[in-house]
Symmetry: C2
Subunit: 164 residues, 2 copies
Amino acid sequence: MNDALEPRQLEAYFVLMEAVSLLQHSVEQQLRTEGGISYVQFQLLARLAAVDEPLTMTQLADGVVYSRSAVTYQAAQLEEAGLITRASSPDDERATLVTITAAGRALVDRVLPGHVQVIRPMLFDPLTDEDLDQLGHIMTRVRDHMRAQPPRSASRRRPTKPSP
Amino acid sequence: MNDALEPRQLEAYFVLMEAVSLLQHSVEQQLRTEGGISYVQFQLLARLAAVDEPLTMTQLADGVVYSRSAVTYQAAQLEEAGLITRASSPDDERATLVTITAAGRALVDRVLPGHVQVIRPMLFDPLTDEDLDQLGHIMTRVRDHMRAQPPRSASRRRPTKPSP
DNA sequence: TATTGTTATACTCTATAACTATA
DNA sequence: TATAGTTATAGAGTATAACAATA
C-alpha cells in the first residue's frame, strides 16, 4: 500500500481544480457586475429560491459549508440589500428563519441568463452531451459521498470538549 | 435557439461547483494546518517545483489567474517565509525572476502526502479508475479550451484607454 | 448543558489606480 | 508608448472566541 497516488490521478485532481478556478473567477465577475453579488451570495439565494421555503441559518450554512459567523455576515448583507428577510422561528425561538424576497427571486432570475452565457462557452461548448452527462454523474457521486461523511477536520460546530 | 440550458446541464455545473468547493475547503485546511500556506501559495510553489526553473511574475500569474498585485502580495509572503527568492532578470531588467528555495521544495514534499490523504477519501475513493480517467480527460479539454480563449472580461493588463 | 445565532476582532486576500523603471 | 512589477489603499470575506437566549 503506497501513500502516493498514481500520477494520472493526481493530474486529474489538479486539472479539475484549475478548470473550476477559472470558471469560478469568470462567474464571480459576471455576478458582481450584473447583480452586485458574490458567488456565495448567489448560492444562498439560489438555494432559497430552489427549496421555496424558509431555511434556518444552520440549514443555509449546510449548503455552503462556511462557519456560522460567515453565514450571519452574508445574511446581513443580503438582508440589507432587501434580498432576504430574517425572522425568529415560531417552532424554535433560537432559530432564525431566512426567507427570500420577491426582489431576491427577481435578482436570481435576472442574473441567471448572463450566468449561463458565461458558463456555456467555458464549460458546455467544449463538451459533448455525453461528456456532460458523465461529468454530472461523476461529480454527483463525489458530492454525495462527501456529504455522507462529514469531514473529520471541519466540524460544523466545535465538538464538545472531551471529558478532561 | 434558447438561452436556457437543459436543466441537466445546469445541474451538472452546480454539482461540479459544489463538490469542488467542498474539496477546496478541506484541502485549504490541510495546507494551512500542516504547511502554514494557502491553496494559492501551494499552487505557486507546486508550479515552480514542477517546471524546475525560475519564472517571471507574469508567468507565475498565468497559472493562477489573479491580478498582478495579488501575485506580488503572494510572492512577498512566500519570500518572507523563505520559500522563494526574487531577483531581477538579466535578460529583461523589468522582469522579476522567481526561484523556489530548497525550503520551498521541502515544504511541498512535506505537505503533499497529507494533501493526498485529504483528496483520496473525498475524490478518489468514490470513483473507479475509469471514472477518474474520464474526469481527467473531460476537465483537461475544458481547461485547454478556457486557456485557448482569454476571457473577454478579465484581461490580464488593463487595455489601453481608447483614444480619447 | 447543549444548541442557535450574533457580535467583536483580527487577519488574509483581492482589486484598483498610481507609480517606477525598463524595453 | 507599452510592459513588468510594486505600492498604497480600501473593501470583502473568513474564522475565532465570547456572548445571549432558548431548548
